[in-house]
Structure formats: structure tokens, C-alpha cells
């Protein structure tokens, strides 16, 4: 009897001890769960806040600029496209879109159309030709005879000056995106030559939430011209350790191709929309101008130097990524180095600056923001066309 009692008591004690232990355990588990949730939440908040802040800032800036109204000029303009498809079609679109908001009427033609006939019927006040390499000089002369002001905006200077130098003289006004070509066209006999760089089309290149698959730390988009190949060969060992993406033609010419093979997408031409998305998803975008004496696709026998920045400079600055660019003389007219854009002069400097800005999120964002502000303020197609129309219709 005694024995059974003690056994029973033991059993009760055991049960109680077990219950206590379980309680203790479950309390510990609950506390751990709560702590995990709270820590996770705090981490998430800390990371989400600056991202949201940046996005909200950019959106407010963009919506303000989108709401700005430009004075409409009472003019009818005939616009002749390049007629070459990519990569010019997006430029045509951007210019036609901006023109539509700045003059009362725009008529769009291709260079293959019977332009004198169109001019005879529609009677525009002026004709603006983009690039002009596909437009026969006879058509331009006929249009001029009808008393219509003509202008051409050169898009490929100085790489095709052998060709463009021949027909520029037929136009009343010549606009070039290359500063060093202004004296060249004057020498060729053009009366009115103006420097007019490209700009950013904010309908395409703007800060946006990028697809996670298109995010990377360091990005380069462009063809592998020889000067670029040389440069990237020098930094390939460094880039191999980073989250890098390079896309474009001819990159298999790299001596160090094997180091970067998995980071290069060869021979892929991306649409502007896609490019914009990659720009927006990158932390740092490298911009390296092609050399003016590279002989692949180059008809610049006079060896006119390239001082001006490429259109990509504006596009990257408008996309909300940090731009690291090599220095051209004209750069400081568009952006303040170190505040709105970051420059490099050598492979070593590029590596050092990539390291610096990848580690400092806030400094990078500050530069991105002021670059974006500058682009919106000064480098939009509306601003450019305002200047162009002022020259044409003054």
C-alpha cells in the first residue's frame, strides 16, 4: 500500500515537472518567436525606409516636372526622321513627342518620302532633319527653293564627318552635338552652326522600381570598341569579384574574357525600355566614351577630336544610378564632377571610386539626386528644342 502511494506520488511529481518543463520551453519559444519577428521587422523597416524615401523624392520631382507647361510656338514644323530604325527611332520619338508640345503643328516624314511634294501641300514654316545622311541633297534644295527654313541636327559627330561635311552646307542651320565640329562646319561653308547636345527622354529613362532579375551593382552597356576593350582588360580581375553585368557586341575580343564570361551578355541589342530598366536597377553605371580614332564604323579621316559627351551621359543621369564616366572637355558644362557625376581618369581610379561609392549608400544617393535634378532642369528635349526653335524662328 505504502509502495503504491509513493509510486503514485512519484508519477504525479513527474507529470508536474514535465508540465513545468514544457511550459518553460513554450514560453522560451514564444519569446524567441516574438524577438525574431521584432528584429526582422526592425531590420526591414531600417532597409525599407531609405528606399521608399528615395523613390518618393524622385516621384515628386518627376511629377513636378511633368506638370510644367512650355510656351507653344505658333509654327508648323516638318520633321524628317533618320529613317534608320534602331538606335535612332527612339530619338525620333522623343523629339516628335517634345515638338508636339512646343509648336502648334508637326508633320512627320521619312527621308524616302517625296518631301518637296509634302512641303508643297502642307506648307510648313520650317523643316527639321535628324541626322540627314539618308536624305538626298536635291530634296533639301527643292524645299529651300520654296522658301522654307531648313535645319539639320547631326547625331553622329564626329564619327561620320566625311559624309556629313558634304551635305551640311545645304541647310540654313546646322546643329551638332559635338562641340569640336562647330568650327569644322563653319569651315565647310555653313553660315549658322550651333552646338546642341542630346538630352534625356524622361518618358523612357527615369528612376523606377527595377525587376529583381535586372539588378546588379556595376553595369556597362555598349559595344566593345578597342579603347573599351583595352580598359576593361585592365580591370577584369577586379570586376570578376563583383556583381557585374556587361552587355553589347564584340566583348569576346577581351583577352581576359574567360574571367568575365559569366558576366557578359554578348551581341544582345537592348531596347531603350530594357536599357532604362537595367540602368535603374544598377548601383553604379560605367560610361566610357568611344575613342574618336577607332576605325570600326568610323569615317572621320580628318581625325576631328571628340570633346562632347555621349547621349548616354544624360540617360544614365536621368535613370537614378550613379554614373562613373571618363572625362571629356565638355562634361563640366553639363554636370559638376564630384557633385552631380563622378569621373575617373585611369583604371585604378575607377576601381577606387567603385569601392568607395559601393560602400557609401548615402553619398551615392546624394550624387544621384543632384544629378537627376540637374538633368531635369537642363537636359530635357524640351530645353533643347526651345533653343533650336529660337534659332530657327528668330
Amino acid at each position: 500500500m505504502k509502495k503504491t502511494l509513493s509510486v503514485r506520488r512519484n508519477a504525479i511529481w513527474k507529470r508536474r515537472a514535465r508540465r513545468r518543463r514544457l511550459l518553460r520551453q513554450s514560453a522560451a519559444i514564444q519569446a524567441a518567436v516574438r524577438a525574431a519577428r521584432e528584429i526582422g521587422h526592425a531590420d526591414g523597416y531600417r532597409n525599407g525606409y531609405p528606399k521608399g524615401h528615395h523613390r518618393g523624392w524622385c516621384d515628386a520631382l518627376l511629377s513636378w516636372h511633368a506638370s510644367q507647361v512650355y510656351p507653344v510656338r505658333d509654327a508648323h514644323l516638318l520633321y524628317v526622321t533618320t529613317g534608320m530604325g534602331v538606335p535612332y527611332a527612339p530619338l525620333d520619338e522623343a523629339i516628335v513627342d517634345a515638338l508636339g508640345r512646343m509648336v502648334t503643328r508637326v508633320t512627320v516624314c521619312r527621308p524616302t518620302d517625296n518631301i518637296p511634294e509634302v512641303v508643297w501641300q502642307e506648307k510648313p514654316h520650317g523643316m527639321l532633319v535628324l541626322n540627314g545622311m539618308n536624305l538626298e541633297a536635291s530634296k533639301v534644295l527643292k524645299v529651300k527653293e520654296m522658301g522654307v527654313r531648313t535645319a539639320v541636327w547631326m547625331t553622329d559627330d564626329p564619327y561620320y564627318t566625311d559624309v556629313t561635311g558634304l551635305f551640311a552646307v545645304h541647310y540654313d542651320h546646322v546643329f551638332t552635338l559635338e562641340l569640336s565640329c562647330v568650327p569644322f562646319y563653319r569651315d565647310m561653308g555653313c553660315q549658322s552652326v550651333h552646338y546642341l547636345p542630346f538630352a534625356n527622354d524622361f518618358r523612357v529613362y527615369r528612376p523606377r522600381e527595377a525587376d529583381p532579375a535586372k539588378r546588379c551593382d556595376i553595369l556597362f552597356i555598349g559595344s566593345g570598341y578597342w579603347n573599351r576593350i583595352q580598359f576593361f582588360d585592365a580591370i577584369a580581375p577586379y570586376l570578376a569579384t563583383k556583381n557585374v553585368l556587361i552587355t553589347g557586341w564584340w566583348w569576346d575580343r577581351l583577352a581576359n574574357f574567360h574571367l568575365l564570361a559569366d558576366k557578359i551578355r554578348l551581341g544582345q541589342w537592348m531596347t531603350p525600355a530594357e536599357t532604362a530598366e537595367y540602368y535603374a536597377g544598377a548601383k553604379i553605371v560605367i560610361n566610357l566614351h568611344r575613342s574618336h580614332d577607332d576605325d570600326s564604323y568610323n569615317r572621320n579621316t580628318r581625325r576631328i577630336p571628340a570633346h562632347s559627351v555621349n547621349p548616354r551621359t544624360f540617360e544614365i543621369a536621368g535613370s537614378g544610378a550613379l554614373q562613373l564616366t571618363d572625362v571629356r572637355l565638355d562634361l563640366q558644362n553639363h554636370y559638376v564632377p564630384g557633385r552631380e557625376i563622378v569621373t575617373y581618369g585611369s583604371p585604378e581610379e575607377l576601381i577606387a571610386k567603385i569601392e568607395y561609392y559601393l560602400a557609401r549608400e548615402d553619398e551615392r544617393m546624394a550624387i544621384v539626386k543632384s544629378g537627376l535634378k540637374r538633368t531635369l532642369k537642363h537636359h530635357t528635349y524640351e530645353k533643347r528644342l526651345e533653343a533650336l526653335l529660337n534659332v530657327m524662328f528668330s
Binding site: G40, H41, G44, R46, G48, K51, H53, G56, A60, W64
Partner: protein, 387 residues
């Protein structure tokens, strides 16, 4: 037996493993929730900061008047934000601003500095009228900006006659001062100081509904009918006298009877999703003539400058400053307030659009720089003291 013992540590390890993984998943879920929350709060803050950056007039662009102004601040806590705003703006708009408080020997200081204007804020309680008379006798123009109309109109009417120029933020009192014998009376509403009242992040506290202010009888009666909303939401009421609220015992921890230092209120406005602004009743003992309260209180502008949604009781002058339904929302009964609060707490996007619009309107039209510019214009008019 042996096999069992061998298995045990493995089983334990597996259990540990499952537990760690589960905890990790919970953490990830918490991270996702926190990221979303932080992102959306950050988005609004970023939008506000852009608006602020864009609409704040840089000091370099403000052309100062070639005048010396001596400003006599009220100095009491309730007026601290107004004092600060006026002093900041005077610093930008005058050649020299001399700031003294009402406790100082104002006449003596005026004799010493010989300013072009002595501007007194509210003057009823502390600056004695014979000091003002002495300053006027020296040939220095004096102006008062009355801040508490119409609640103390019995006193202010007598006091105002001692000044050259009277500014009042209450449009219904302009006639009163003119009838009392003041020669130059102008309507000049208060404003917000964008350096002090701006969207502040991180805020001091996150709340759904916020009310800061004393429990005047009309406010108590109003909030007594609002109890269901107050108990349902995350509210904060700060100010003296709220212990007389009907449901005080239930809301005890969400009512701060000591109030909030006026200079820190932007930190609370910024963290509130909705700020309630309820004007004091004009049926008070200090206003025996019953001048109606038509104009809005300074707080209307201060809330508007913080990038948050303001729910305000409608006064006649409100639509002169803001567009209800676009920059802020109005209510006329506790039921309407509760309904609108519930709507805007569930529609975060609409709430934020209103908040940003309110911020834009405030920065464009309602800062102390705007007001003092207007004041100096009025003074420089022909027939004015500087004219």
C-alpha cells in the same frame, strides 16, 4: 535499448534544426512586413522632402527691407512657435532685427536702438501701455499683432488704441478696432515657420489620431461624443484639462495632461496620420461683445506645414487659405469627424495626397516670410508709418 540511445541526439538535432528554420522564417516574415512599412513611410517622407526642397525660398533670393525692427516677443509657451517664426522671418527680411521679450524694459531698449518699428506680439498681458506711449513719444512707430482675437476682445480693444498700427488675425475684429479709434487696422493671419514646422522623420511617436490643445468647454463637449472612435484607434490627446473627459479612465494612458512643448509639436504632427484641429468657441467670457470667430488659428498652418492630413472644423475664412477636400478635410459634427477619420485611415494613398497638397499650399502661401512681406508692404503704403 542501445539503438534508441543512439538515435536520440540525432532526433534532438533535427528538432533543433526545425526550430531554427521556423524562427528564421518568422524573422523573414517580420522583415518583409517591416520593409513594406518602412518603404511606405519613407515614400511619403521623400515626397514631402522634395516638395519642401522645391518650395522653400532660398534666403539668398529674399530681398530684405532696409529697416531695423525691434520685435517684442510674448515669451509664454503658447506663443513660442509664433515668436520663433516671426523672429526667423524678420532675420531674413530686415536689415537688423532686435528681439526682446515682453518682460524687458522695452521703452529703454527702443531709446537705445532707435528702430524703425517696434512690433509687439499680442501685448495684452505683459507690455504695459505706458511703455508703448513712451516709445511713441520718441517718434518710433509701434505696431501690435494681436494673436488671441476674439477671445480677449474686451481687453485688446482698449490696448490697441495705444499703437500706431494694429494687425489682427481675426477678420471680424477689424471693424471693432476701427470703431475703438485705431487709425490703421489690418487683417493679417498667422502662418507657419517652415524651418520649424516641416515633415520631421523619424517622428517622436506614431499615432492614428492626434489632438494637441487645451480642453476648452466646447472641445470637451465635442470629444465626449467621439469616445467610440478614440477607444478604437491609436490616439493621443495632449493638453491641460482633459481629465474632465467622460471616458478619461479608459483613455488615461493616451492623454497627456502636461501637454507637449510647442517647439516639439512638429515631431508629433509628423508622426500622426490624422491631426484634429478644433477651434476654440467664440462664446467666451473674455469676449463679452460676442465677436464671431471667423478666422483660423495659427495651428491650422502649422499642421499644414508638417505633411500630414488635417481634419479641421470649418470656419468662414478657411477656404481663403486652403481648399477643403483637396488640401485638408473639414467636419461639422463628431459623427462626420469619425466617419472621415475612418475613411482616411483606411485609404492611405488619398490621405497622403491630401497631406502633400496641404504642405504645398502652406509653403507657397502661408509662411511668416509671406506675412511679414505683406506687413511691410502695408506699412510702406502712402499714409502708412513708413509711407
Amino acid at each position: 535499448m542501445r539503438a534508441k540511445r543512439k538515435l536520440r541526439p540525432q532526433r534532438k538535432m533535427r528538432r533543433e534544426h526545425i526550430r531554427t528554420r521556423r524562427i528564421w522564417q518568422i524573422r523573414q516574415a517580420g522583415y518583409a512586413a517591416g520593409y513594406g512599412g518602412g518603404y511606405s513611410v519613407g515614400y511619403h517622407a521623400g515626397r514631402c522632402s522634395m516638395v519642401h526642397e522645391r518650395l522653400t525660398v532660398p534666403a539668398a533670393q529674399i530681398v530684405p527691407y532696409d529697416k531695423t525692427v525691434m520685435y517684442v516677443s510674448q515669451g509664454t509657451p503658447g506663443f513660442r512657435t509664433i515668436d520663433r517664426g516671426i523672429m526667423n522671418a524678420l532675420g531674413k527680411l530686415t536689415r537688423e532685427a532686435i528681439c526682446v521679450t515682453s518682460g524687458d524694459p522695452v521703452a529703454l531698449l527702443a531709446e537705445l536702438h532707435r528702430p524703425d518699428l517696434v512690433l509687439v506680439l499680442n501685448g495684452i498681458f505683459s507690455v504695459s501701455t505706458d511703455q508703448i506711449d513712451r516709445i511713441r513719444a520718441m517718434g518710433i512707430p509701434t505696431a501690435v499683432w494681436v494673436a488671441d482675437d476674439p477671445y480677449f476682445s474686451d481687453q485688446t480693444r482698449v490696448m490697441a488704441t495705444h499703437y500706431d498700427v494694429v494687425f489682427t488675425h481675426e477678420i471680424s475684429c477689424v471693424r471693432m478696432y476701427e470703431e475703438a479709434g485705431c487709425r490703421s487696422v489690418h487683417y493679417l493671419p498667422f502662418a507657419a515657420d517652415p524651418d520649424l514646422f516641416r515633415p520631421r522623420h523619424p517622428p517622436a511617436m506614431q499615432t492614428d489620431l492626434l489632438f494637441i490643445g487645451m480642453a476648452f468647454p466646447n472641445r470637451l463637449a465635442f470629444f465626449n461624443r467621439l469616445l467610440p472612435l478614440l477607444t478604437r484607434r491609436n490616439v493621443l490627446i495632449a493638453g491641460g484639462g482633459w481629465q474632465h473627459l467622460a471616458g478619461y479612465h479608459r483613455l488615461k494612458d493616451r492623454i497627456w495632461l502636461t501637454g507637449i512643448d510647442p517647439l516639439t509639436t512638429p515631431l508629433f504632427y509628423s508622426g500622426a496620420r490624422i491631426v484634429i484641429n478644433l477651434h476654440r468657441s467664440d462664446q467666451e467670457s473674455g469676449n463679452s461683445q460676442r465677436f464671431p470667430g471667423l478666422s483660423v488659428n495659427p495651428r491650422t498652418f502649422e499642421i499644414g506645414a508638417c505633411g500630414t492630413l488635417q481634419l479641421v472644423d470649418e470656419r468662414a475664412e478657411l477656404s481663403r487659405h486652403y481648399t477643403p477636400g483637396q488640401d485638408l478635410e473639414t467636419f461639422s459634427s463628431p459623427e462626420e469627424l469619425a466617419e472621415k477619420a475612418d475613411y482616411f485611415l483606411s485609404r492611405e494613398d488619398v490621405r497622403r495626397d491630401r497631406a502633400v497638397n496641404g504642405l504645398k499650399k502652406t509653403l507657397r502661401n502661408h509662411t511668416y516670410v509671406h506675412r511679414l512681406n505683406r506687413m511691410f508692404q502695408l506699412l510702406s503704403q502712402p499714409g502708412g508709418v513708413w509711407g
